[in-house]
């Protein structure tokens, strides 16, 4: 049974578990859908389904170590589809940080509310883009460009989609 109410201490935070099949297949399906849909409609690449899955698992489990590892694995899987010009590890690093941050936040605030989820996804998308840009441009000197308008629009789109995605994924939670 999901926890409802305000969160004032760590003991009150509900921690959820997931079936192993869900843990394995949900990220794979997210990456597959991301790859397939982007091939048909290029502009849909703005939606980052794997990042939403990272956030969802990290927030639900509320364990930073688990969040780190989940983010790293999903990010590395996403990296592996990026082609030879895309170094493996860029999404890995980004999603690791997102996983850690999401699970840390999940221990402190109510992340079941749609409004909170909207804001959380928006902020994490901005962080995601910033870390990715920092790794690619700052560390690897790749020719990336930063655009605030693009990040703002992407954040909005992901936040809207994220609310529905989280609602769908909630049915896989096990207390």
């Amino acid at each position: 049974m999901p926890f409802r109410g305000s969160y004032t201490s760590r003991e009150q935070v509900a921690v959820y578990e997931f079936n192993l099949l869900v843990v394995v297949f949900v990220p794979l399906v997210a990456i597959l859908v991301q790859s397939f849909v982007s091939a048909k409609l290029r502009w849909l690449a703005i939606i980052d389904l794997p990042m939403m899955v990272v956030i969802f698992f990290a927030v639900a489990r509320r364990n930073p170590i688990s969040g780190c590892i989940t983010g790293a694995i999903i990010g590395l899987l996403q990296d592996s589809l990026g082609g030879p010009a895309h170094p493996i590890g860029m999404y890995g690093i980004t999603d690791t940080i997102i996983g850690y941050a999401a699970s840390s936040i999940g221990m402190k605030i109510d992340v079941e509310n749609p409004g909170t989820r909207f804001l959380m996804t928006y902020v994490f998308l901005v962080v995601h883009e910033a870390v990715y840009f920092g790794v690619g441009h700052g560390l690897l000197r790749q020719p990336l460009q930063w655009s605030w308008s693009h990040v703002a629009i992407a954040g909005l789109a992901n936040a809207i989609v994220g609310v529905f995605v989280y609602q769908f994924l909630d049915r896989f939670k096990q207390s």
């Binding site: 990456i31 690449a45 590892i69 690093i93 690791t96 690897l140 020719p143």
Partner: protein, 440 residues
């Protein structure tokens, strides 16, 4: 110690995972340097170690310089004289080597002209993308089992798409031309200006390295130049959408690709490109300018003829532009373009023997008949010149041929083509006008 580890356990795990991935990144990423590409981890390691090494070496060098430069100067005067003599000898040798190099380049240019023809392709279906915005790679459903190899060109009937970068047994990865790491040798179809078509992170394509003083107009077609050794020459790339002054004296030319890269479903992979040398059989000795005039893609045959029409041939040699070989192989020169207006005499004359000295083995189509070459300066050809195999008199002097009257020679005095691939801009005019020298 145990308390600290327990307290910061989460952060330590985060740091370890991040550190491992950063190291993995540094191992796989290569950064271009002067001596090729170097792994990033080496760059970082070198960046950490070299400052200490430099300090030691500089200190050592400082003492060494002080010793050898101020204290220990025995034999320096003799050595200086020897070195001066050596420099003089090297200067002479360098001049000779430069001449040899120039000659080698000329010969290489003459001998190495090859044309590419797409011989076979494989149709493939686009089945996926990278799924990220930064990378625009595509996946196709054909792989090594179907004969796909890396660096094969991928096209559609409307234009080029990209190149194969990685191949597995049943699929392959394609780097499209609008990816930020893509680069394609491209040229403007009309002006023949060559540049590099590069993608941008936002998916646009720009033609780079065209000087800002070049006249480039929106709508001009862009084709492959063949310089990248991936795409055969002359394939459609796209059209110029906008031209803006860029930085570093280059234009910022935005190009709209001919292929709809965002809605690709089927593509063709070029699996075999046939390289063919120009057909020079039975044509006798030909000049580089003649070969170049044949290489102009998209040029109507008659204009190509006219562009090279002024080239002077050696005895028995004929100008052999594409499309006119049949008319010239008989050994007698015939007029290929009629006189433009009444009253203008034909400019084509019967071929007469010329002396060996009259033929000039140069890359530029410079007339060697006396009246033409001595009175007109060499300017860029802007109007087509009627083809006329002109010959020099047997005495080798630059005089008009005996079968040619001075009055009929006058209309034929067109400025020679200074560039071997000069393209005639317009059809033959009724009356020869003073040639304008376009910016390019």
């Amino acid at each position: 110690m145990e308390t600290i580890l327990g307290r910061y356990k989460n952060l330590i795990v985060l740091a370890v995972i991040l550190f491992a991935q950063i190291i993995a990144l540094a191992v796989q990423v290569r950064r271009p340097g002067q001596d090729g590409e170097t792994r990033l981890i080496r760059v970082w390691a070198i960046g950490i170690v070299t400052p200490f090494e430099k300090a030691v070496v500089h200190t050592q060098n400082w003492f060494h310089d002080k010793w050898t430069g101020y204290l220990y100067l025995r034999g320096v005067r003799n050595e200086n004289a020897q070195l001066r003599a050596e420099i003089e000898r090297m200067n002479l040798e360098q001049a000779r080597v430069n001449e040899d190099a120039k000659m080698a380049r000329r010969i290489q240019t003459l001998l190495a002209f090859k044309e590419q023809y797409v011989e076979s392709t494989i149709a493939a279906q686009v089945i996926g993308t990278s799924g990220s915005e930064q990378s625009r790679v595509l996946y196709i459903d054909k792989g090594s089992d179907d004969g796909i190899k890396p660096d094969m060109a991928v096209i559609t009937p409307t234009g080029i798409v990209g190149k194969v970068v990685q191949v597995s047994r049943g699929s392959a990865q394609v780097l499209p031309i609008n990816d930020q790491l893509s680069g394609v040798g491209a040229a403007l179809k009309d002006s023949r200006l060559q540049g590099i078509l590069k993608g941008a992170p936002n998916g646009t394509t720009t033609l780079q390295y065209i000087m800002s003083d070049e006249p480039v107009k929106p709508g001009e077609q862009v084709i492959t130049s063949g310089g990248d050794r991936i795409f055969p020459k002359g394939l459609p790339v796209g059209s110029v959408a906008s031209v803006e002054p860029g930085k570093d004296l280059f234009l910022n030319i935005r190009v709209i690709p001919s292929s709809r890269l965002d809605k690709l479903e089927e593509v063709l992979v070029i699996t075999k490109v046939d390289y063919k040398l120009p057909d020079t059989k039975d044509l006798g000795p030909i000049r580089a300018s003649d070969i170049l005039s044949e290489r102009l893609p998209g040029l109507p045959a008659s204009q190509g003829v006219e562009a090279a029409g002024n080239a002077i041939t050696q005895p028995g040699a004929l100008n052999t532009p594409a499309g006119t070989a049949a008319s010239t192989r008989s050994g007698t020169a015939r007029p290929t373009t009629p006189p433009a207006t009444p009253g203008q005499t034909p400019t084509t004359r019967p071929a007469t023997p010329a002396t060996a000295g009259a033929a000039k083995p140069s890359m530029t189509a410079t007339p060697t008949t006396g009246a033409t070459s001595t009175t007109k300066p060499a300017v860029t050809l802007t109007q087509p010149v009627p083809r006329k195999p002109v010959t020099a008199p047997p005495n080798g002097a630059n005089q008009p041929a005996t079968t040619q009257s001075p009055t009929t020679e006058a209309p034929a005095r067109k400025p020679p083509a200074t560039a071997p691939n000069a393209v005639p801009q317009e059809p033959p005019a009724a009356q020869p006008q003073p040639s304008e020298v376009p910016p390019r």
